[in-house]
Assembly symmetry: D2
Homo-oligomer: 289 residues x 4
């Protein structure tokens, strides 16, 4: 089918490519004229036949909000906007309501796949009306992996909510591997840490794609000496914790993983200055200044 793609960066560009390989006609728009098929959102909309489908693949927050608003002014009843970015599910509801007042459909899609998606397919978690999901099924079928990798999770927002929780789980799993590696390195009982990780890829309970990636990373840099222990966090980890707090759900592992990332970005810990100060006050403990 024909589809518009707004945002042709690493994710959007690769997804457009996978769609074209799958026989779809993709009209792409990007702020960067060098990679854009059209000069403006307006031209993009004009180039598409009604009922149109426009897939938005721009950064979450203000860029997505502005794009949806602009599309609301350009599209016609019966068209569908798809937000495949990393939007907060609360934003989806606002976008869906806004577009609905003009008769325009809205579908949110949580997309997983990273740099591997172009060849292996993208896992898609979708939210929205059944009819809209059905209308877009040719596109979803091409984007997703050959087997599985697709769910219509629920109403508007459910796709991004599912992706958000997916990322929360990912935080916890990554941190579990990270802690295991640190302990193996610190304890100095196991001599062949890299070989141990490699061996875990078959026959163990923890075999997983993350473990495969871990082995790839150790292949390239066996003691990770070329990396700093510094990790950004995307919005999803924070939103997962905030949703949990809102719903009174305890998430000790996912939260600990998020906090470890926060901590990794501090060159010195303010909290631990307090500990040092208190120890100095009550015990005359030597402090490191």
């Amino acid at each position: 089918m024909q589809i518009g793609m707004v945002g042709l960066g690493r994710m959007g560009g690769n997804m457009a490519e996978r769609l074209r390989r799958g026989g779809h006609e993709v009209v792409g728009y990007d702020r960067d004229p060098a990679i854009s098929d059209v000069e403006s959102l307006k031209e993009l909309v004009e180039r598409l036949r009604a009922p149109r489908a426009v897939w938005v693949m721009v950064p979450a927050g203000e860029p997505t909000r502005a794009t949806v608003e602009a599309l609301a002014g350009l599209l016609a009843p019966g068209d569908i906007v798809i937000d495949g970015g990393n939007s907060h599910y609360v934003d989806d509801r606002r976008h869906g309501d806004e577009l609905a007042t003009k008769g325009i459909g809205f579908v949110d899609v949580g997309v997983s796949g990273g740099v591997w998606g172009l060849d292996n397919g993208y896992a898609l978690m979708t939210g929205g009306d059944e009819a809209h999901i059905r209308a877009l099924s040719p596109v979803f079928d091409t984007l997703k992996p050959a087997e599985g990798g697709f769910v219509h999770a629920g109403k508007i927002g459910a796709g991004h909510f599912a992706k958000m929780v997916h990322n929360g789980i990912e935080y916890g799993m990554m941190q579990a591997f990270a802690e295991g590696w640190e302990l193996l390195e610190a304890a100095d009982v196991v001599d062949d840490v890299e070989g141990t990780f490699r061996s875990w890829r078959q026959g163990t309970v923890i075999r997983s794609w993350l473990l495969d990636l871990m082995v790839r990373a150790l292949d390239e840099d066996p003691d990770l000496s070329e990396l700093r222990g510094y990790a950004q966090d995307s919005g999803e980890g924070r939103w997962t914790v905030q949703a949990a707090v809102e719903h009174a759900v305890p998430l000790p592992v996912i939260t600990a993983a998020l906090y470890a990332r926060f901590r990794s970005r501090q060159s010195d810990s303010p909290a631990m200055k307090v500990i040092a100060a208190l120890r100095s006050q009550f015990g005359g403990h030597a402090v490191s200044s």
Copy 2:
């Protein structure tokens, strides 16, 4: 090759079976005469040709200690004892030292595989002298999965230490999935939670054997209504945390996963009684009694 197997329970019995299918001659001993090939450890040793290899597959702690001690009295220099149970790596060192005084070799093997190992192979993490590992390689090759699944991790104790850390990682990963499921169920945004987990099996960052098992579990009982949220912990999770504390390695995720299990076994939380008491004292907050 020929090997003795002490302990023919679920794990030992299946491993003996896999070895036999692989063409090895296994002489098995078990306390239960109905499944034992011989009447005593002594007879087991007599039935084996020197240099002997005896694989111990009995519960960690006292049963393993007693078996190793008995074997120390029965075996001859050049023989090898293999501890494939879930022993603490500190015990391995004692067992290794004890056997070494008699010229008997010792190899510790952390074994992963559960009920799936018979058909798929067992992941093996081994510790001990290179010569002993080499001597046992026919057995290891049969027990392990077709590809990979084997590491000579280091000296005596390294096999069980690697397995211990493996289990610690497993605790963290399982808890990450568990928290994600709880949040999805609680937030009531995603309608098809089971389908969401199923979709994650392809194309996502969190695809893993544990996720496959999770989907199997949800197939059988979609809302897990037939289970209680009650989980035992094996020694490995505790030892992982204790080793981390000893080495000053922070393990927030693995520890949180262990504590969640501890908490799951309390019908009421003593700590939270204190919270209720304090709230009542300072605020006149209503308490639930």
Copy 3:
């Protein structure tokens, strides 16, 4: 000075009483006519001389919002509204802006003191313009303890923010005592747990009002057998964690304390059902159903 008090419940009623004891003229309004001095907010405003000060002491969220809105319609430029409830600091900003458009001042006050405040004074953390704080100083001086217990923390919202963090700290401290008690009871090394807590009240690093309250609680019920380990959480704990996540500040202790409360209210843990399910799948571990 003269002041209006809206909300004469446990907190508001006691504060009105303390103000009267201190020589202030308090006109109180409550939805319950039996304890209200006036029949309506309107009458309350009419009874006060300009420039008026009206202290709002009603539940946070909608009740406070509605009261502030009503007062915005009744008061005159130069009057001041004080929100002494447990409002979220984000609400303060909205309330302040709304009132400012009418020339009405706004001050937010985080109040600590519980049932002890009437006699001992209330700790006050205030936010707002210097001029408004100064105008209200006679009231603050009466409400607060004889020494200290007062801070002008910053602009509008700073009072409730400070109180929010205070409560977050309180969560962590309470949980620390709770965990210590649980360990003492479980380990069965210390015979006189109650006496141990009592002894800590002098000479130790952990002496504190919370410890005093703990001893009071143990006096009344030495093994806390009459309580259930069930604890509500007020909004402040959640807001503290959400503010931390927003600012990328790791709060492992405060968050763990909040999660322990969440967990205390679950009769069964959904997350731990997943653990039980996974253990059953991979290990054939007996599960408790």
Copy 4:
């Protein structure tokens, strides 16, 4: 009464001084001849009248073990050894058993007080036989604060166990204050953070000696800019967590506080290198190297 004091460092020296001020006769021994009253442990024992009491105040672990062993060879039946250091309660049992075979009594005492103890008194948590405790009561009465600050917690080991848990609680409380301070500084809502802490000293739920010390520290260095966020941990925090793991008691807050200290001593986090490596592998995320 007459008492021998072994170890005249910061703690032992001050305790000897407080005992002397209280009218006791203290014979002190230290490895440093400049501050020792006698030349050897042997001379110390000879200078004391039977039944002797010797208070050991040396570092936990090997130094304490060696001292107790030496005293076992020098003392006579009816004498009492007191271990007032920071020994692990498991060591107490061994020491008690060893001395008991010679008819020598043993009492373990957890001592809190730091540099403040000389003037304010030391909180004492004791373990041992009732008769031994009673015999030493003149000494305990002088060392402890005027009111309270003393408990006979249970049998041998109970004193150090109580002190260990005290320190665990202290870790949690300190971390709670530390996290609150970090959030206040990071969020930039409260302008007067120092004043806010100061105000909390009266009328709040969190008033405590640690808060007093916090205010003292902020008096000296309002933004703690002269300190590094680096904190040692003594054995007690680790032992608390290990005892909890042994008894299956979840200690999320105390453990998080301990881990924060471990983390504070890492210039780079090995675990977070793994996170950075994995993010780089699956997402092409920029890493900081």
